[in-house]
C-alpha cells in the first residue's frame, strides 16, 4: 500500500464519518455545520480525482452557497425534532434498502470495464477550433453548450419559483434575509475590505477559466458571495423582485447565449455553432454575461423571497 493510498483512505473515512454525523446529529444546526465541512472535504476529494474545476464548484456552491442557504433557513425555522423519531421498523427497512443500493453501486464500481471509455482525445482534438485551452470550459460552452443553456433556464425557473412563494401582500417588498442582524462593526469592516478583493478574485477565476481550472459558475458564485456579504453588513439594501435592474441582469446571460445560439443559423448554418474566426471571443463574451447572471441568480436564490409583514 503506497503512502498516497493511505492518505486517500484517511480522507474517505473522514468524509464518511462527517456524512454519518450530518445524518445522525440530533439538532439541525450541528447537522448543517457538518454538511458544510462535508462540502469542503468533497472539494479535496475532487482535487484527488484530478478535477480541479469540479473542486472549485463544489467548494463554492456545494459548501458555500448551499451552506448559507441552509443556515439561513435553520435560523428562521423554530421546529425541533419530535420525541418520537421514525419507527424502528421503518429504520430497519430503510437501512436494508440503502445497504442494497450501496452494495449494487460498489459492485458496479469494482466491475467497471477496462480500458475505460473516454471522450478526452476527441475533446482535446477539438480545442483549437474553439480557441479556449480548458477542455471543460470547451465542453460547457461549445460541445455541450445546449446543456449549459438549459441549465441557465433551470436556474431562472428556480428564481421564478422562489419569487412565486412571496406572500401576496408582500410582493415588491424588500427581502429581509438577515432581518434581525445587528449592525456588527466586524462584518462591516470585513465587507469593506473583502468585497473589492473578492470581486477581483471572482473575475480572475472566470478569466483564467478559458485556459486553466475556473469558469463562469465558480467566479459567478464568488461574486454572489460578495454581494451577499455587502448586504449582510447592511452597506446596500437587497433588491426587490420587482426591480427592473435586477431582472435585466438575471436574463442578460441566458438571453445573450440564446441570441448567439440563434445567430449560429445565419453565421455558420446551425443552432449554437460558432464561426471559427470569432469562436474564442464569442465564448468569452457569453461567459462574461453568464457570470453576471449567475451571480445575480445565486444571490437571489440564497436571499429568498420577501417575507410577510408583521
Amino acid at each position: 500500500m503506497s503512502a498516497a493510498l493511505i492518505l486517500d483512505a484517511c480522507l474517505v473515512l473522514l468524509v464518511l464519518a462527517v456524512a454519518v454525523w450530518t445524518i445522525a446529529a440530533r439538532e439541525t444546526f450541528p447537522a448543517i455545520a457538518g454538511f458544510v465541512s462535508y462540502g469542503l472535504l468533497l472539494a479535496i476529494v475532487w482535487v484527488r480525482l484530478s478535477s480541479v474545476d469540479v473542486a472549485l464548484t463544489e467548494a463554492a456552491i456545494g459548501g458555500g452557497a448551499t451552506g448559507v442557504l441552509l443556515l439561513g433557513a435553520a435560523a428562521r425555522l423554530t421546529d425541533r425534532a419530535g420525541r418520537r423519531p421514525a419507527g424502528i421498523g421503518l429504520r430497519i427497512m430503510a437501512g436494508a434498502l440503502c445497504l442494497a443500493i450501496t452494495a449494487a453501486l460498489a459492485f458496479v464500481i469494482l466491475t467497471l470495464p477496462d480500458p475505460a471509455p473516454t471522450l478526452a482525445p476527441q475533446a482535446v482534438a477539438g480545442l483549437p477550433a474553439t480557441g479556449v485551452g480548458n477542455p471543460i470550459t470547451a465542453v460547457l460552452v461549445a460541445y455541450r453548450g445546449i446543456d449549459t443553456l438549459l441549465e441557465k433556464i433551470v436556474l431562472l425557473l428556480a428564481v421564478i419559483g422562489v419569487w412565486c412563494l412571496t406572500p401576496d401582500d408582500s410582493w415588491g417588498a424588500l427581502p429581509a434575509p438577515w432581518g434581525t442582524a445587528r449592525q456588527d462593526d466586524a462584518i462591516v469592516l470585513l465587507a469593506r475590505l473583502l468585497a473589492p478583493v473578492g470581486v477581483v478574485v471572482g473575475v480572475y477565476i472566470v478569466w483564467v477559466g478559458a485556459d486553466d481550472p475556473g469558469g463562469a459558475f465558480q467566479g459567478g458564485t464568488i461574486l454572489a458571495a460578495m454581494w451577499l456579504l455587502v448586504m449582510m453588513a447592511g452597506l446596500i439594501a437587497p433588491l426587490p423582485a420587482t426591480s427592473r435592474r435586477l431582472r435585466r441582469v438575471l436574463v442578460a446571460g441566458p438571453a445573450l447565449f440564446l441570441a448567439v445560439a440563434f445567430a449560429g443559423f445565419a453565421m455558420s448554418g446551425d443552432f449554437l455553432s460558432y464561426p471559427p474566426a470569432y469562436a474564442k471571443w464569442l465564448i468569452k463574451l457569453i461567459e462574461a454575461a453568464l457570470t453576471l447572471s449567475i451571480a445575480a441568480m445565486v444571490g437571489v436564490l440564497v436571499i429568498g423571497p420577501a417575507v410577510r409583514k408583521r
Binding site: 493510498l5 486517500d8 474517505v12 468524509v15 450530518t22 445524518i23 439541525t28 447537522a31 454538511f35 468533497l42 475532487w46 484527488r48 480525482l49 484530478s50 478535477s51 469540479v54 464548484t57 456552491i61 456545494g62 448551499t66 442557504l69 441552509l70 433557513a73 435553520a74 425555522l77 423554530t78 421546529d79 419530535g82 423519531p85 421514525a86 421503518l90 437501512g95 434498502l97 440503502c98 445497504l99 443500493i101 450501496t102 453501486l105 460498489a106 464500481i109 469494482l110 467497471l112 475505460a116 473516454t118 478526452a120 482525445p121 482535446v124 471543460i136 465542453v139 446543456d147 428556480a158 422562489v162 412563494l165 469558469g215 459558475f217 436564490l301 429568498g304 423571497p305 417575507v307 410577510r308
Partner: protein, 120 residues
Amino acid sequence: MTAEQLYGLCGAGLVGLGLFGLITAELPLRRIVAFNLLGGGAFVVFGVIARRGAAAGLGGDPVPQALIITGVVVGFAATALAVTLVRRLHEETGTTKFDQDELPPETVKLSDATLSGGNP
C-alpha cells in the same frame, strides 16, 4: 485496490447514507440536507468514471466533469426552491411537519384562512 475504486466505494457509501437520511429524517430541512449528501455521493461515483477516462494528457474525461459541474448547479437550484417552500410553510403554519395530527388546531385554521384569503 486502486485510489479510483476507493473513492468509488466512498461515493457508493455516501449515496446509501444520504438515502437513509432522506427516508428517516423527521424535519424537511434535514431531508434537504440528506438529499444534498446523496447528490454529493452520486457526483463522486460519476467523477470516478471521469477519472478512469484519463487520456490525451488530461487528468480525467472532461465530458463527465462538465456534466458534474452542471449537476452541482442544478442541485443547488432545486435545494434553494425546496428550502423556500419549507420556509413559506413555516411562515403559514408555524411548523414544517407534514403530519397534520401533530398540528395544534388553531394553526390549521390559520393556514386555511390564509389559503382561502389568497383567492378572493
